[in-house]
Amino acid sequence: MSEMKTAAYLCSGCGIGEKLDIASLSKVAQREGKMMLVKEHEFLCSAEGVGMIRADIAEGVTHAAIAACSRRAKTEAFDFPGTALSRVNLREGVIWVVAEGHEEIRQEMAEDYLRMGCAELKKMKMPEGNPGRKLNRRILVAGGGFSGLTAALAAADAGYEAVIVEKEDHLGGHAAKLAKRVPFREPYREPVDTGIDALLEKVGAHPKISVHLESTIAETSGAPGRFFVKISGPAGEKIEEAGAIVQASGFSGYDIAKLPHLGGGKYPDVVDQAGVEEMAKSGNFTKKDGRAISSVAFVQCAGQRDPEHLPYCSGHCCATSIKQAMYFKEANPDTETVVLFTDLRVPGMGEDFYRSAQEKGVIFAKGKVSSVSEAGNGLRVNFRDLILDEETSLDADLVVLATGQVPNSGVNIDLPEEGQVSVLNLNYRQGRDMPQLVHGFTDSHFICFPYETRRTGIYAAGPVRRPMDMMQASVDATGATLKAIQALENAALGRAAHPRSGDLSYPHVRLEGCTQCKRCTVECPFGAIDEDEKRYPVFNESRCRRCGTCMGACPVRVISFENYSVDTVGAQLKAVEIPDEFSEKPRILILACENDAYPALDMAGVQRLTYSAFVRAIPVRCLGSVNTIWITDALNSGYDGVMMMGCKHGENYQCHFVKGSELANYRMSKIDDTLNQLGLEAERVATHEVAITDSARVAKMIDDYVASINEIGMSPMKGFG
């Protein structure tokens, strides 16, 4: 890289020039910030202001500090590709939040932020994208059922190759065993053809799709753009390379033998929904003894919504029972069909399908089934009629238990149990399959981001991700395939995947300093770091999501990113001028999550809420990236307190890097020793959960904290740093 040439640009617009002494800020940038070039402008984000910066960049400026508004504002105007950039937040972070009448400390705050921006800038390097990148436009699809077939076809239609691995000797999965399916589009009146034959034909004929039958995945290694998948099949083992993976490993039906109170596994004429499909496919609607069926009872939520069995609802079963009741009505309109339910769940246009069944004479009764017993030649379903509020029963020739979907998620890496067979056999240090979210499903935890996977480049689709019907599975498989395509395209460019999409920085490690403590490999939320035979960390950059959790974990501080490192943050906090003990001007460091807490602080400014001018806020990628050295450095250099602001943790955690804020909390619980050694009070380091909507709360939180620090008194460490 060419020689570093630094410049600082000070904007006096938006009232900055009226509230701050720009001339002395310029001096700070020159004398203390050591910027080679310092320019002032009254409207920096204007075409003229931006043009001025561009001209300087053309003349050789490599590093620019923009002292104007927040990094969240005017991002597109201050966009200089190839130039290292720091944003000094004088507007949202200073003039909009400091109450009138505090001119002196407001100016001090601004000068500190400028010092910090200059210090950070000088430590920054331009990220160049990770070097382990590779382009591979092939997607491996684990599972050849409806979801897997849909995924493969979607990939192929978009111009990508697809390789399907299926454990059975044929494709089609559960869908191929269905007689008919619930309609996907109007009219929602009758069961329709499953479409699986047409899908199989398309898949079979597509030149970009290849299939391995009777095959399983023996090992998956590598990273997005360069996965190596060892496939074990009848002809031995074969390695397929792939850029990304869609896991469509489907579901298994809940075993009815686990429901003996409902006659499951006990009486031959108690079947599950799959059993009805078999009958319908063969057209042989008879009891096991060969006699005709004149009455059928469908028991909804059998072993579902039940903490003893499956606590969740599988979503499709109400519509499936409706469809199956129609089979019987179609075969013989005189067959009595009763659906016993507590809540009938047919969302959207499924309502029309429900209506159609009612018109066909299917009976729906709100009742909670307690048991199924034998009665004469038939069966008796005992239930509480919830309308009449009484125990009652009905007799039927056939009882259908609407059981739920159990995801084929492979090994639960958090709680492995014997007998679990891995789907992917990842050779990752953190376990062989995808982490599971809840009830065994490999879903994303985020409402806004259903495909926010914890194994970069691997996307779950269909009922393994979430219980679902075929229509949803078709949408889901297509969505997951898009994400797989995106992952491989970005891996080829050396860029991060969501949520830091496009980020070119990646972790660098100085292995010679590494003590093989393994914290980074254990704590990486995305399983990106493996270990070599000497137990040194092996970074798989294309799996990395650039959160910095490894950097926060490293006790010897050998991990860093080009533009975000122990130094870029360390230099910032050391650049702050610490007034002496008798000044009555405390200095509080805020380390704020850049996605929630920092925007909350910003929006306090947008709403012109005020908070203490004694704080100095630094945005961090995640609280998980906070290295404790920053805290000890801050305390050693005389800060009076440190506030860490991160996302909610626990069951409904909000951290997009999974455990960042929780880890920070944990690490800070260990900092008491350090505080003790320094003779400092525990209150000098505080962690807070802050949501993005917490602008008013965070302003108050700051003021309360400053008040409490004033009560404890100034730090005795000042002047020793």
Binding site: V346, M349, D352
Partner: protein, 422 residues
């Protein structure tokens, strides 16, 4: 604007709510050229009008922040706001799209400093709050608005107020002469992320919406709960500003009803369960949910179970027949039959929230021939994204939008493959 901003390699996404944002970003992050057109002054759509999401009770703006950062960082994506699509002709592979750009009266020089707003005093109903609150006629639509730019309401253009706003702006961003513009672009594929609207509650006569001030809709209740909303997050009833202590939630308001919407709107059960949380978190108030079936599908069941355990929430299985007003107190009587045990009731509540159904926003829009809708107006096939395609919650909308993005990419792929071949 130049015509050549788009070609038959461009994907146009119509609608900038959560589905449109997601579809546009997913396609753009695959390296495709995308234009996102939004009718309002800001992105975010109806999700920005929600206080929290079920079942995590997290804030929509958290996800929006990530999405906005993705938008700002992506050079393949162009966002047009205040842009209404007025006509789409052609077919997949070669659409011509006519769009009307409404004047914002604020140009790209705006720094969002707020000087224009400080200079005006006239107020307009706040659209974001469904008109429950007011905002200045020069306004930033939301603290997280994208683009981060003020809007001058047309009502003050040509008035002294308008001039004051212009004079207050020190960067020359207020442009009162700005005119409506019509542009035409090409697009190879179009994703319809036109979203949904709440069903007109006043059409459900027996519930008295519009006649009884304390009968409100679930979307309005969302604004009341939001600290950034018209009541600062306090659940105050409209008639007298008293805190609601005994709230009724009526499910299937407009949905599953042949006289109104035939379909089930899917989100309303979970929305009401979530809103009972707002009630119990705010005070010692009680909630009662009147329902036909609680549709807490898949793991949402966990959330339903938690709400059932909350002693402040009770459930009545009943379609409420009618609501009558107690004039003196402003309270409401809900009349109906509890189908569990068949009891007749006339229950008193101080606030009634109608879990209002979803109607596709595309109803009445002129759609091109190859876009098919069902009889309720939802767009069938792969090119409808989010609630334009079916009544969906946020998570499923994003899922559907991601899928629609791949359909569009395949279209573009087919066009380039054909062009290369010829």
């Amino acid at each position: 604007m130049e015509k050549d901003i788009a070609t038959n390699q461009t994907i146009l996404v119509i609608g900038g709510g959560i589905a449109g944002i997601s579809a546009a970003l997913e396609a753009a992050e695959c390296g495709r050229q995308v234009i996102l057109a939004e009718r309002n002054a800001l992105l975010g759509g109806r999700t920005l009008q929600l206080y929290r999401y079920f079942p995590k009770m997290c804030h929509p703006t958290c996800g929006l922040e990530i999405n906005l950062r993705r938008i700002k960082a992506n050079r393949n994506l162009r966002v047009l706001t205040m842009t209404e699509v007025v006509g789409v002709s052609g077919r997949r592979g070669s659409y011509r799209v006519k769009m009307k750009i409404h004047p914002r009266h604020v140009n790209e020089k705006c720094t969002a400093c707020g000087d224009c707003a400080s200079a005006v005093s006239s107020e307009i109903p706040n659209r974001l709050d469904y008109g429950l609150g007011k905002t200045r006629a020069a306004y930033l639509p939301h603290a997280m608005a994208y683009p981060m730019r003020y809007v001058i309401d047309p009502s003050i253009v040509g008035t002294e107020e308008g001039k004051r706003a212009r004079q207050a702006c020190r960067v020359g961003a207020v442009d009162l002469e700005m005119k409506e513009e019509t542009i035409e672009i090409e697009a190879g594929s179009v994703i319809w992320a036109t979203g949904w609207k709440p069903y007109d509650a006043s059409k459900i006569q027996p519930y008295g919406y519009g006649r009884f001030p304390n009968v409100i809709t679930s979307v309005e209740f969302e604004r009341l709960a939001d600290p950034g909303g018209p009541s600062g997050g306090r659940l105050l009833r409209p008639s007298d500003g008293k805190e609601a202590k005994n709230v009724a939630f009526i499910q299937c308001a407009g949905s599953r009803d042949e006289n109104h919407l035939r379909h089930c709107s899917r989100i309303c059960c979970m929305a009401s369960l979530k809103q009972t949380r707002y009630v119990s978190e705010a005070s010692d108030a009680k909630s009662t949910v009147y329902y036909i079936d609680i549709r807490a599908i898949d793991r949402f069941e966990d959330f339903y179970r938690k709400v059932q355990e909350d002693p402040s929430v009770s459930f009545v299985k009943s379609k409420v027949a009618s609501i009558s007003l107690d004039e003196a107190s402003g309270d409401l009587f809900l009349n109906g039959v509890d189908t569990e045990g068949y009891h007749r009731y006339a229950n008193r509540h101080d606030l009634v929230v109608l879990a209002i159904g979803m109607e596709p926003e595309s109803l009445g829009m002129a759609l091109p021939e190859d876009v098919v809708t069902d009889s309720s107006g939802f767009i069938e096939g792969g090119f409808g994204a989010g609630a334009a395609s079916s009544p969906l919650d946020v998570n499923r909308s994003v899922q559907s939008a991601t899928s629609a993005a791949l359909f569009a990419i395949s279209d573009i792929h087919r066009i380039s493959a054909t062009e290369e071949a010829s």
